[in-house]
């Protein structure tokens, strides 16, 4: 049966947008042969091929003819004519509203900006703005020409073979058990690899004397560029598929591995990539790298760890990354909120200018902790050190207040290369580290490689269960040269600073003795050869396997210190894989059993005079500090970026209260109880005064209610009275949404109750230009006072101050004094007097309201 249907293309953008995909998918449902002809050009396309339809270049008003031949022609006709009449005309409708996921929390200011945001998972905090640059996974060999004396026929054969091989590979993969998402991608790839138009294009290019490689490249570019121009993300996705397919085809044609691509940055940039190797990351110019967006990476991937070390804001898991974030456009990556913003309008620009300035002020305020050690209010010291993986990270870490290097991971020196680094190469790195530390301790962990970390030259077997397998210290006896070389370099470097060495994955005293014995041997050899070294270099082990907790009496006779690697220890102890979505909920360091384990470890170690540090993720959460201080740890080691905030937090805590908190936690029955306990801990907030000059602004240039509220909450954030300013803002808006807090007479009193605040606070902003507060009423507001109280606070004293303030605001004289006061200090003095607040002596902490 034959049928025909004619129509005129109703679409302004022609048939190279979404409709091509829909048409091809629809046609593919039928067995009949279906052809689409562009009557203007006379070109004919297989209607089941997206690429073919696009190649037809059907424009608005072009006459088109569909020709159907086959057993189900009638059904096909009905469907296709319906498509042409009813569905096609609607294809180019742009989505009506910006797509904002309800699940992300956004400040009101950004919600009002009315822009489209792309959600991602923050893995390294901060905000970065720059031009989007796409990193390709691999470069193509420069020479695609193939042999000089190639023949057309030979190249055609190569191309056909490549296509056939690729299709087979894809079909085979599809036969495996796959997730629906993976299967979807593979099917899309298969349909492109099987797209007749692609094959024809390649053949056409070869026939004009291109090599198979060049033909594939150009055919890919031809289709991909057309598709990339589409507004629809769906179609742009196909372009990426085309590029992917062509890469794979090239690999089939050319064989061999491709090199990982280097990326040159020429201006402040945001790099987008499917994934990035640590090497690629390190090669990037850090001054120009403002942020990183990765399609795939977990929080413990090495690249992410490096990004944190260097303070590069990073997001992962941004859907349809390259389709949604166009290369060459200026974008903002907000890794605090977890979004990428691709349209920067005036509101966004201003918002981020203010965010940057707030961030700078927050850093300034933290700056006084850089040089000083972190000590609690009642005198207990907790050293805060940094984790690094390269010698370059040390200087920035010390600039950010690190008191030492608690963990220098050395694996990266060994990965992604053809052979192990030489002794001299390693010596150079360790020496630079020791010197950069200038007398501060540097703990170097010897190579910790196993199933999950690739170093092919070691020829480690693939294991079914690498995490319980051949890794860490276990491989040293068999790879004696490897470990000896590394230890020689470390020992020689010990002459240049305070170097300490630590072994990973130790589970028995025997292993510790072996390690120590090897070191002693090497030291003897080196001394005999006249090399300088530190004979008192301290030797320690990681605590990762639970067994260590029960043999500390014996172990501490052999070693000098311990560092608790909570990431692995927690996994092994609770037998739960943190990457397994189904059981990840069990992986929680607040599990009372884990806290008891930690308590035992620290107690046993200290009884034997052994120093105990902690270098896992548990250490970086300020909320858990009371437990860590209560445990009596000597040190915590975290990413460089986290150091200052933790040091500041420590100075606000009381060790006595922390001891109590830990005792209570150890008696808890489950994580929820411990959580509630931590919520009630206010991080020393009760000791802080309600008001401080830094919470007062008398010359604000905020122009809207949203800006004012954010400005006051930001002042709380800068003053470290909250770590979650967004939550505080939400609490204020929750109250504000019920009824405007404008009082009349140019005043407003937004307020809230929330535990996202560490200390009850009063903030004030006096505006240069009055701002509208309540749209229902024409009166504008000149002075805004925010009252913020902790939900779980039962301290009546502060509430009395609030009620007094509220009452005073009803009096003309009081308001006039606030409006007329010359500056922050004047306002502060007046309020302190009127509200009878305790006076604070004028010391640096007076600015911040912290009791000395």
């Amino acid at each position: 049966m034959h049928h025909e249907h004619t129509f005129r293309c109703p679409l302004p953008n022609g048939l190279h947008a979404r409709p091509a995909g829909l048409l091809a998918d629809l046609a593919a449902e039928f067995n009949s042969d279906i052809e689409l002809t562009n009557e203007r050009t006379g070109a004919i396309a297989n209607a089941k091929s997206v690429l073919s339809i696009i190649a037809l270049d059907v424009n608005l008003d072009d006459a088109c003819r569909i020709h159907i031949a086959g057993a189900d022609a009638e059904a096909a006709l009905a469907a296709l004519s319906d498509f042409a009449a009813n569905i096609m005309p609607k294809c180019d409708d742009t989505p009506s509203t910006p797509v904002i996921d309800d699940a992300i929390k956004l400040p009101r200011l950004l919600l009002k900006a009315g822009i489209r945001l792309h959600e991602g998972t923050p893995v390294s905090a901060g905000i970065g703005q720059g031009v989007a640059v796409t990193a390709h996974g691999s470069t193509l060999p420069a020479d695609l020409d193939g042999e000089d004396d190639r023949s057309c026929d030979e190249e055609q054969r190569k191309a056909r073979l490549a296509l056939a091989s690729l299709r087979n590979v894809l079909k085979t993969k599809l036969a495996d058990r796959l997730s629906p998402a993976e299967a979807g991608i593979l099917r899309a790839h298969l349909s492109i690899a099987g797209d007749v138009a692609l094959e024809e294009k390649i053949a056409e290019l070869i026939s004009v004397d291109l090599s198979a490689g060049q033909a594939i490249m150009q055919a890919g570019e031809f289709f991909a560029s057309r598709l990339m121009e589409a507004d629809s993300a769906y179609v742009r996705e196909r372009a990426i598929d085309v590029e992917d397919i062509c890469q794979q085809l090239l690999e089939h044609v050319l064989g061999g591995q491709f090199q990982a691509a280097g990326i040159e940055l020429t201006e402040p940039s945001v790099v987008l990539a499917k994934n990035l190797t640590p090497r690629q990351f390190l090669a990037l110019d850090k001054h120009l790298l403002k942020a990183l967006v990765l399609e795939h990476a977990s929080t413990t991937s090495h690249t992410v760890i490096l990004a944190r070390s260097f303070g590069i804001p990073t997001l992962t898991g941004v859907a349809n990354l390259r389709a949604n974030v166009p290369t060459g456009r200026e974008v903002v990556v907000d890794a605090d909120l977890g979004v990428v913003i691709t349209e920067i309008n005036a509101i966004v620009r201003r918002y981020y200018q203010r965010e940057r300035s707030k961030f700078a002020r927050r850093q300034d305020r933290l700056a006084r902790h850089i040089q000083t050690p972190a000590v609690t209010r009642d005198g207990r010291r907790l050293e805060v050190a940094a984790n690094v993986a390269t010698a370059d990270e040390l200087a920035p870490a010390f600039e950010r207040g690190a008191e030492g290097i608690g963990l220098f991971r050395t694996e990266m020196l060994f990965m992604g290369r053809e052979e192990a680094p030489s002794e001299e190469e390693q010596l150079d790195i360790y020496t630079r580290a020791a010197q950069a530390a200038g007398g501060r301790p540097v703990i170097i962990r010897t190579i910790d490689i196993g199933g999950d970390k690739p170093a092919p030259y070691l020829n480690l077997d693939q294991e079914d269960n690498p995490f319980l397998g051949y890794r860490g210290v276990r491989i040293y006896p068999e790879h004696r040269d490897l470990i000896t070389t590394q230890l020689r370099a470390i020992i020689r470097a010990s002459a240049f600073g305070v170097v300490r060495v630590m072994a990973p994955m130790v589970c028995s005293v025997e292993e510790a003795r072996w390690f120590k014995g090897l070191i002693a041997e090497i030291q003897m050899e080196l001394k005999a050869a006249g090399a300088a070294l530190d004979p008192a270099m301290q030797i320690g082990v990681m605590v990762e396997t639970p067994s260590v907790a029960f043999i500390l009496d014996q172990l501490c006779e052999v070693i000098d210190f311990l560092s608790i690697g909570t990431n692995d220890l927690l996994q092994y102890f609770l037998a739960a894989d943190r990457c397994n979505k189904k059981v990840a909920y069990l992986y929680n360091s607040l599990h009372p059993a884990f806290l008891r384990l930690l308590a035992k470890i620290v107690e046993d170690a200290r009884r034997r005079g052994c120093w105990v540090g902690m270098c896992g993720e548990m250490a970086r959460d300020a909320r858990r500090l009371p437990l860590l201080i209560g445990l009596g740890l000597d040190e915590i080691s975290v990413a460089a970026l986290d150091v200052l905030a933790l040091k500041a937090a420590i100075t606000r805590l009381s060790a006595a209260e922390c001891d109590e908190a830990l005792a209570a936690a150890l008696a808890c029955q489950d994580v929820a109880e411990v959580d509630a306990l931590l919520d009630a801990c206010d991080g020393g907030g009760a000791a802080r005064s309600l008001l401080a000059p830094e919470l007062i602004t008398t010359d604000s240039d905020s122009v809207s209610k949203e800006e004012v509220i954010k400005e006051i909450v930001d002042s709380f954030h800068v003053a470290q009275r909250t770590d979650d300013p967004l939550a505080v803002e939400e609490a204020v808006w929750m109250r504000e949404d019920i009824h405007s807090t404008a009082l009349g007479h140019g005043f407003a009193v937004p307020h809230c109750k929330t535990d996202s605040l560490a200390a009850n606070s009063i903030g004030m902003v006096r505006l240069k230009r009055p701002v509208e507060w309540n749209s229902a009423d024409s009166q504008k507001v000149q002075c805004v006072i925010m009252l913020a109280v902790r939900e779980s606070d039962s301290d009546g004293t502060h509430m009395k101050v609030f009620s007094k303030l509220a009452r005073r605001l009803m009096h003309e004289e009081f308001r006039a004094r606030l409006l007329g006061a010359s500056d922050c200090e004047a306002v502060y003095e007046y309020l302190t007097e009127e509200l009878e607040l305790p006076r604070i002596r004028h010391t640096p902490s007076a600015l911040t309201g912290e009791k000395p």
Binding site: G744, C752, M799, A806, R807, L809
Partner: protein
């Protein structure tokens, strides 16, 4: 007139007290005696006794939420207004009492 009042707003931090202050100021200016109980985040302050209520000529509730122990006022004529009204137009509230 002898007046008793209760102020209570949802969050209980600011408006409860502002309303109390306004009612007290305005009553004084109009020559009335007033006793205001606040029901705020700290709980009930300046709790009105049964005698206070019995002796009162009028009762004002300036509230945005349920009044606690409302049964104390059974049998009394109560003028109930929004907290905002008491803050912004306190005189009008007293006018409602016919005072």
């Amino acid at each position: 007139m002898k007046i008793v009042a209760v102020t209570a707003c949802p969050t209980g931090i600011a408006h409860t007290f502002m309303a109390a202050e306004q009612l007290e100021k305005t009553a004084k200016a109009l020559g009335h005696e007033i006793n205001v109980e606040t029901q705020g985040a700290m709980g009930i302050e300046n709790e009105l006794s049964p005698e206070d209520v019995r002796d009162a000529d009028a009762v004002i509730f300036a509230v945005g939420i349920e009044v606690e122990q409302r049964d104390r006022f059974d049998g009394k004529k109560i003028i109930e207004v929004e907290v905002q009204e008491a803050i912004k137009h306190p005189k009008a509230v007293f006018e409602k009492l016919g005072a």
